[in-house]
Assembly symmetry: C3
Amino acid sequence: MVDWFHWLNLAGVAVCAISGTLMAYQKRMDGFGVIVLASATAIGGGTLRDMMLDVPVFWIADNDYLYTTLIAAFIPIIWLRLSPRFPYHYLLIADAFGLALFNVVGIEKALANDTGIAVAIAMGTITGVFGGLLRDVICREVPLVLGGELYATTCIVGGMAYGLAMYLGFEAQWCGAVALATTVLMRLGALRWHWEMPVFYNEN
Amino acid sequence: MVDWFHWLNLAGVAVCAISGTLMAYQKRMDGFGVIVLASATAIGGGTLRDMMLDVPVFWIADNDYLYTTLIAAFIPIIWLRLSPRFPYHYLLIADAFGLALFNVVGIEKALANDTGIAVAIAMGTITGVFGGLLRDVICREVPLVLGGELYATTCIVGGMAYGLAMYLGFEAQWCGAVALATTVLMRLGALRWHWEMPVFYNEN
Amino acid sequence: MVDWFHWLNLAGVAVCAISGTLMAYQKRMDGFGVIVLASATAIGGGTLRDMMLDVPVFWIADNDYLYTTLIAAFIPIIWLRLSPRFPYHYLLIADAFGLALFNVVGIEKALANDTGIAVAIAMGTITGVFGGLLRDVICREVPLVLGGELYATTCIVGGMAYGLAMYLGFEAQWCGAVALATTVLMRLGALRWHWEMPVFYNEN
């Protein structure tokens, strides 16, 4: 993978770690709780993906991810000591980019291991959303990815865009760019206009 | 594995996916929540088993399982649009067969990887019940497998029957048939006559 | 690994299995729930570690661990039938030794697989605390490791002591002894004097 890809990936990890720390704050966890939640959120999705694909787990092979998670986990703590307000709005926008990037990383890692496109789309979505699901299960919250504004769905649609671009004969880096743009724009649109999936329920 | 085994396995996956969808209904989850819960329930047990045995994860190697899960997840949604009643009773019977089949698949996959019979029984039980445990943890329900009518216990007893048949020198397909029959009959009996394990509690 | 190491490891597994059983008691789970909780607590951490390191899962390769878990799970049940009081105090001391031992096992297994020291510290901590985290998530408790007296933090400090001893050129067995002593003494001190990590919270 090219160098900018590595840096964007680290940025995605950092954003997710910050979101884990903010949840730990709200739950009044102690210092270790912050590290656990930040790590689970930031590297949980990629860890499950790598274990399922049976490839070396990314943060074991490259220490940068672990250090990035630890440093990012303490950003909100220091920030909130200095200022009463945290820029949640910018965090959501950064998170949309992180989600899209994790999605593309997951798709490309799966395809590089000779899976079909359906499995690759599943792997992209798992990379993007499993960390947040883990964070919510540990904190005993209703997992956010299972309801509310479009989140995981943007990964699936982004993955389908990747598959379509592949089918149309685009080169790999353009397939990735199409998937990235689709996921980011759809997620930002969902945040701006409150797009939701229909909620099913049992009338009985 | 022979062809009918593959088809029965797909049927087991479909039944579990349907049970995940029905839980998502009751929790009023959105469309993506349905897919997550259906997938976790249907392929969660086998995924954990394959990761622990360090063999290729079954649904990554064979796309049929993923497509079956997705199709099965939408059966109850369409059904409940057309008719107010869902045949839960038949679902429980189908689920008993799915449980027994997952159990035998887990045992045979473990033995094929040179584990002892104790580990194989554990793998069969994990294949059978972990998906449902995952479904309940995600939904913040008290996991059904940890209480109530005999469920996981039928897998353990079925696994012991497998071990006994092996010890008596039966051929592999007959060991599997014995374990399948033991698990199904015990589970159906538990459903019919409300067999339960004793509940332990702390009187202090 | 030398023989006493194997026996101490089995003792750590037994202590964790007992703590899982006691939780199952309080939750009034049935017989199978006891086995699940005891197993998840005793071998959950090492299982995740081995899957992430992509080495054979320890209890699959060596049946002793599974049998130890099952036997240990029934000790509190028999004990509580004979006597109304369970020696929780001694259990906490035994648990401190189990935690420290799991920590050292995790660190050494990671280093033997050529990870850096930061990843090794993470693996030691995961081996020590993931089982208890799993137990609490299944039981829908607020995970104990995320708050209260120092627990996981003792693993991290023990791991840092290991790294320092390595840096100073100690032989492997002395590094392990330093980490073991650091973790045990810090945990016993936390139990005795109620040491806690500062709890962060969001004043907004």
